[in-house]
Amino acid sequence: MAVHADPSASELPVSPLLDVSRLVVEIDTLQGPVRPVDGVDLRIEAGEIFGVVGESGCGKSLTALSILGLLPRPQGRIRSGSIRFEDQDLARLDERDLRRIRGNRIAMIFQEPMTSLNPVLGIGDQVAEALVIHRGLSRRDALAQAIHLLERVGIADARHRAHDFPHRLSGGMRQRVMIAMAMACRPKLLIADEPTTALDVTIQAQVLDLMDDLKAEDGVAVLLITHNFGIVAERAARVAVMYGGVVVEEASTEQLFEQPRHPYTHGLLAAVPQLGRRRDGMRPHPLSEIPGMVPNLARPAPGCAFADRCALRVEACLRERPPLAAVAPGHRVRCHVTGVSAQ
């Protein structure tokens, strides 16, 4: 087979599907402007599931909303940084262009599907509507295709259920309808912000299985935001851990869980209770704790955001912000002490 003569084709590594670089989001509050996202870096390859984990308030949702151009208005804005997707910088696009990309090249699903579904329209019609708008199908073709998509996301007897209103469905079924709608547009990137947090574990597993299938069959990349480390461990190829508005560690899933480097990642992993730890009627050891509390946005630390809670802190940590430095191929850490290359 002939190799393309195009010289740019030999330029591996190809640029990632999504490349968020030094993203800073500013929000006006009564106490003045704050920066809940303060220099986030993320690189997502086509067709991979990329997990973003971190505790409440660390800036996960605002990062996702920035990518979609959906920051709260007028108080929120992208202050600096870039969001490269395919060949464009989304941070610089106007609303009209963003709307074209949203729901088309990039689709999204949120935690509570009920708020994003139209309560007075049958689920089949809603999926069909997306097909008419984004793929230009005729109404009849769209409805047939919608039923097919509903079947694909595991809605039994889709032909009849297509006429059901959302409130007649269970939470897991609604989330699956949301996925069908997102897929109707054949996106390149699916942003899923806590898609299963409101669901019971057995149902949660089904919805995540479905996302896996979509990745495998349609080559969709998924940005999976969650606070559940277990979900990331099972589903994602790569992970970013966020703390206080920055990515503190980014690695392949194996690297992150087998050789976590950042003290915060260490602390979090040790704090998660795990099945199968109890022996012989004894109380298990206490869980390890991370002392202190999450940082106050109104008073950002000059140095490392984690410094006031960190056991490894050295003097530089209080003064200087650590860079996100590579410690191994594909493994980056933002820490003065542990973020040093092993080589």
Binding site: E55, S56, G154, I155, A156, D157, L169, S170, M173, D200, V201, T202, I203, Q204, A205, Q206, D209, H227, N228, F229, G230, I231, A233, E234, R235, T253, E254, L256, F257, E258, G267, L268, L269, A271, V272, P273, Q274, L275, G276, R277, R278, R279, D280, G281, R283, P284, P286, L287, S288, E289, I290, M293
Partner: protein, 327 residues
């Protein structure tokens, strides 16, 4: 003569409660059997973990145990006293001995009271007249849960979620109860805060010899805190036993599905088969095993409610697959 086993602090038998759902003009649409024939014992100083999916009747069971709502049938004995038959005066003292800790630290604390006032409330209700004594006890209990007594005059909204949960624990603890029903006390918290609160609960339980019913939907959390587990499904306990045994060797198909669905921290753990059946249609309602619509192993006999089979002492499963295995 047999040697008497020590009397469990809490003993529940045949507990049932239905809710009536009415339409807007008051006509009864349906009866929801929220809790059906539930039974368990909790030994002194021990914790029973109650798990199951949303709506399976965990909170209702907790409320029935504390008699915050009245049961339709069944027996709840606290230290041998039949609480369903207790007269109002007796109930008042029992209330002090049995306290509830809520899931949501935000909505369960009255925003207009200072945290000191919130904790003191229970002491006033239960007749601690001496103001100095009340203040001392509030300060001591706050210190115990890791909140500075100086903060007594602050309001709940000035505290983080984890701190509010500590305040909720302090409020229950100040009355020196013997039984705690903790209804999803860490479900709203982040992992690092969850670890702090779970450790605090464990220390306090040890220190005061508290008995607890711990309600949660996270299997790993329940395993961490409880010596015994009861798994509920649609109002019934489908499996019950020592925690290690239930986790290592689940007998009921629902318990298995529940455990298989818990993501582990091992990257790319092999995917396991999961029940993909849709339980919103078909085999539902009427009699029969409540799990049969979702069960891959169902048999014709599953149209009958399975008996609670005690396969080993203290190990109970409600499934026709295990019937006749008693021994």
């Amino acid at each position: 003569m047999t040697t008497a086993l020590p009397l469990p602090l809490l003993s529940v038998r045949g507990l049932s409660k239905s809710f009536v759902h009415r339409n807007w003009c008051g006509r009864v649409i349906r009866h929801i059997p929220a809790v059906a024939d539930v039974g368990f014992d909790v030994a002194r100083g021990r914790t029973l973990g109650l798990v199951g999916e949303s709506g399976c009747g965990k909170s209702t069971t907790g409320r029935l145990v504390l008699r915050l709502i009245e049961a339709d049938a069944g027996d709840v004995r606290f230290d041998g006293v039949d609480i369903r038959a207790a007269a109002p005066a007796r109930m008042r003292t029992l209330r002090r001995d049995m306290q509830l800790i809520f899931q949501d630290p935000y909505s369960s604390l009255n925003p207009r009271l200072t945290i000191g006032g919130l904790i003191e409330e229970g002491l006033i209700v239960h007749g601690v007249r001496n103001r100095g004594e009340r203040e001392d006890r509030v300060a001591a209990v706050l210190r115990r849960v890791g909140i500075r007594p100086e903060y007594m005059g602050r309001y709940p909204n000035e505290f983080s979620g984890g701190q509010r949960q500590r305040i909720g624990i302090a409020r229950a603890l100040v009355l020196r109860p013997r039984l705690i029903v903790a209804d999803e006390p860490v479900s709203a918290l982040d992992v690092s805060v969850q670890a702090q609160v779970l450790n605090l609960l464990a220390e306090i339980q040890e220190e005061f010899g508290l008995t607890a019913v711990f309600i949660a939907h996270d299997m790993a959390v329940v395993e961490h805190v409880s010596e015994e587990i009861a798994v509920m499904y649609r109002g019934r306990i489908v499996e019950r036993g020592r925690t290690e045994e239930v986790i290592a060797d689940p007998l009921h198909p629902y318990t298995r599905a529940l455990l298989d669905s818990v993501p582990s921290l091992r990257p790319r753990a092999p995917r396991r088969a999961r029940p993909a059946r849709d339980d919103t249609d078909g085999e539902r309602g009427g009699g029969g095993c409540p799990f049969r619509a979702r069960c891959d192993l169902r048999m014709p006999i599953c149209r009958m409610v399975p008996p609670n089979t005690e396969v080993r002492p203290g190990r109970v499963v409600a499934c026709h697959l295990h019937q006749g295995q008693a021994g």
